[in-house]
Amino acid sequence: MPSPRLYILSVDKDPTEASRISKQAAKQIQDKELKLLDLVQSLGEYLTDDDKTTRAKAIGYLSSVLEYLDPKTLSRQQVAVIVQFLCDRLEDETGLKETSQGLFALQKSSRFGKEEATLVSSAICKVDLQKHPQGTRFAVLTLIDGLMANQRDALKAMGGKFITSFTELVGGEKDPRNLMIVFSLVRVILVEFDIVPHIEILFDVVYCYFPITFKPPPDDPYGITAQDLKLRLRECIASTKYFAGHIFPQLIEKLDSTSLSVKKDVLQTMTACALSYGPQTISAHSTQLWDAVKFEVLNSAEEDELATGALSVIRAIAETLSFGLKSPPRAASPLARYLSGIVKECLKLLQEPQQKQAKPAGKILSKSATASTVAHSFIVEKTMPALLLIHSDADGLAKQRALMEILNLLLESTLEIFGTWGDLTAEQVLSNPLTEYTDKLFEMYSRALMGSLREEMSLRITALKGLVLLCRIRRLFQESEIGMVVQYFDQVLLEVEEKEEIKELALQGLKDISKIKPNLIMDITFPAFMAQLPDSEKEVDPSKPYIATLEALAKLSLGRSVFQVLLTRLLNKLDVVLRGKSGPMYPRAILSTLLYVLRKRPESSQEDIRTYFARLVVPLLTKTITPIVDNSSEFSDFRIMTDDSILDVTGRLFNIIIRSLDFEEQINVSRQLINIFVLGIPSDYIPKTHAEIVARDFKPLQPTANREHAGCTILFTYALAGLRREVVLSTLSIPELIQQNVELATRTAHPTQRMAHLYLIALLANKWMKKPGDSDLLQKLTADLLESVSSSILGSREYDSLVGQKLQTLLWIAKAIVVRGDRYGTEVIEKVIGLLGDKNYGPTASKGFAVLLGDDEFITKDNYAIIRPLTKQKIFTFCVPKIVEGFRTADSTTKPNYLIALSNILRNIPSTVILPELGRLLPLLLQSLDLPDPNVKSATIETLLITVTESADAMKEHISSLSARLLNACMNREENPPRIRSAALRCLGAFPGVVRTDLLLPYKRQVIRSLMAVLDDPKRNVRKEAVDCRAKWYSLDDPEN
């Protein structure tokens, strides 16, 4: 048998060893090698030790063994003996914690019976608990908690004796962890025990903790928050209706507290009580509560937490009083009496609906109406006649509007109670009390929206919102009425004179209606809108701008079935427009509409975008290419399709659709497109009549191609961008195609076509140059291009534009390989940095950093490009020291190149990456502010703005030079366009509040005085920024004043 001595010695120093010892003893007892009673006896000498801690540790040993013991090991008799033994030990309170732990272990045993429970609880409740430390109290409370869980009947049988001694035991507890247990114990007592004779004692135990003002210490090991305590205490308070008479007067008094959090707690506690005390109890207190909380609503501003809390109380009372009611309450019923009081008071305030307390009164009515169907019926029936009367008597539109706002609140409640069309919830049995007023409401709202002057914005907006609600409420309006509303909204949307604000709401209204009645949108809105679209640009009626109509159509067509209809109708319209020999604008707008919808569709419907390949890509391809190879075809009027601006949108449609095709489909598409654009082989995509002619004459990638043909390259580029990189372009030699495009890109006189070639090169290099050896080819290509730049630098003093084009081409190739992480990329970048020092090609090289780091729409993840994570960060780290060094040694003519390069980098890098390097960059940034280029300045100020807000410390040595430059930027109108002046002011205004005040004070006078001149800037926006900036500097507190 392990000696108790060993345990006693090690328990403090080596708890693991101590528990090993007790585990061993427990095992021996289980294996019948040791008798528990022998173990108890062996403790004897230690239990009489003079040292208190030794006595406690000895009991601790026993408890620890009991804990490790399988509960079934001990016989009923053994349990009884040990319980008795431990209860006797309670007289020696030094071992209270250990004894409690032992008893806790024992009470888990099935052989621990009712008698033991009674014995233990009587004994433990005699202890003077509050003089013990919190850990000991915790052990005792845990023991009682265990008894409450396993031996509740025994505790109940003890009756009042347990309740009184328990309340004495826990009285004065302050530790949060212990309180969590106390509250849950009290709650069980309140709910399950016979407490009627003890209400006051129990109430005192609970209420003394209200309100909880506990703040957890920063290193709180138990993670108990004030909120946890509040919730548990609230559950206690709300758990018995017998508290009602005590708690409500107290809570009402506490509502006068000045602390926001106390008031919130009070209101939430009231709500919890109102919901749980039951109708009988609540009816006795309803008036008193209403009188107490109404002021919190009536005197509140918008979005006030206390108002929300008070509204919940008001609603909770109505909900409880509605309990069991199936039909509208009789006048004498508690619910009717309660609501009558509210209705009377609110209606009085609503007589002047524009006054401050009217809206809160409306909120009270609408919130109470959401308590139950019967409460809703009562409130609607008692208020509608009066509200309608106030409306019809109103002497001004503003008053009418204010009243309609109130009605809208009631409509919202009705929607909440009765639901909307197609809701899956069961319908209410009670009929909707608003039905009686439907005609009146429809008439009133329709007149306000359509019959008032167009300028009566807020009245009409209120009416519009109300109509949407009326349409949505289940089974309120007839379909014909909703149809009328749809027509109103159509009219608002189509009217060019209407303001954006109301149009947006009308559109949103139509969207809402399309969810409940999609047929009405298809049958009414679609035809009406399509009829607005002119057949040609020449017919455009300024009062019916097609862009707005198309925009509205697009926004309503995000649903699948609606889009099918839109697609058919717009493609027909496109043909009609093209046949009328249109300019580029209108066809482009039609195609943009389709693109808008495809882009806005949710991810989930990407699948069916595929299906539009045949309906959209193939016909558009034909309509674009055939007219330029055959002048006599039926499409001869369609030549405008090769206008650059139309080609761009067509290309984007190709891209987004091809992107969502599956792998096999993409292989097929890639072959057909290569046949058409590169190889000159007849393709199935072109109608038989023209397939041969296209194959023979359409050669967009030949140097001899005319502008229309060459312009079509962009379609190929967009299409290729959408292909997965695993789709092998087997019929092509990629290096050859790249080389060919490099030639075209450097030779073409058209910037538009050059971009198409450059993007194509970058795509091919990034996605399809992955084979071994490809890298060498790319290296050779870039080396050749670089070589022509350096030989030009050596050979001539003049800028050669052909060489400039080559350098641009080089940078696009570099981008393609840099983003995929090729090591060779950094070598190219280093060479480009070297070029910054050249007076001829330095400016081009500096802009090249916008290519290297900027985002474009082709090399993206969505387009399956290879993009290594963190490349931007790597380029940043690689470039910055070299640029800083280059700047230092550069002469004054080329210094700006370094600053422009830097600004192009900063513009494209997240600020978190920049911040660590800031110290090094600040001197350069300050000099950038002296450059005339507004783009550089704008990028620099952006960076500085981020820096000021996120890393003000880095700035502190530069405040003097920085503020001087920013002041110059906002005062010198010659050099700085309004946007720069505004940005400079914003930046300057960001200083106060983030930079230490004492560092700023020396400049306060100067800043405020200099800005006085900016207050007279010719531009309003700049003046506004100046006022704000000045206000911030004014508010800097000068300790000397």
Partner: protein, 192 residues
């Protein structure tokens, strides 16, 4: 009659006069916004049109004069000292009661602001007037001469208040009163 109106009439924020509608017209249709054609996105283009010339707000030759609406915007967002509402919402400040005579060629231009207290014995009329005055002094170029007064017939002691508000020395001494400046500072905090 404690000089406080607990239930004043308030104007809906969306009904207050504003320049916002005008500005919104300039926003392009979402159909085409974000659709800069690929060919127009060349970083090498020599005159990159980031600052579009057609945008009037970027053209310094189009002068936007300081007008009534601008004055209104400066003071309508001042908070009322006793309600959680702005002077605009309480209709203490009204666009039609502001007059600006701005003649850049003259040495002095004038701004007249007439305030309408929520009740005619409002005890805080002077403080509100002072707040408006301080705001305008900080926000307008010095060539403007300010006249802030209580609108005739809207306040029992209007004349007296007006005298206080437009007496340079009395304003100056009020500005040195710390408690008073504390109240004014609070009122100006909400200025947008």
């Amino acid at each position: 009659m404690d000089g406080k109106n607990a239930n004043p009439t308030i104007l809906n924020a969306s009904d207050l006069p504003t320049r916002r509608q005008v500005q919104r017209k300039k926003v392009a249709s979402p159909l085409t916004s974000g659709l800069v054609p690929a060919y127009a996105q060349d970083p090498f283009a020599s005159h990159k049109v980031e600052f579009s010339d057609s945008d009037e707000s970027e053209d310094d030759s189009v002068v936007e004069p300081i007008d009534e609406q601008e004055i209104y915007d400066l003071i309508a967002t001042i908070a009322d000292p006793e309600h959680p509402l702005t002077l605009g919402e309480l209709a203490v400040v009204n666009l039609q009661h502001i007059k600006v005579i701005d003649d850049p060629s003259a040495i002095i231009s004038n701004v007249l602001v007439e305030l309408t207290p929520t009740i005619n014995h409002c005890s805080l009329a002077t403080v509100i007037g002072l707040g408006v005055r301080v705001r305008l002094e900080q926000a307008l170029p010095p060539r403007f001469r300010l006249d802030v007064r209580i609108r005739e017939g809207t306040h029992a002691t209007g004349e007296q208040v007006n005298k206080q508000l437009n007496d340079k020395e009395r304003v100056a001494s009020a500005l040195e009163n710390e408690t008073l400046m504390g109240v004014v500072g609070k009122m100006l905090e909400t200025c947008k």
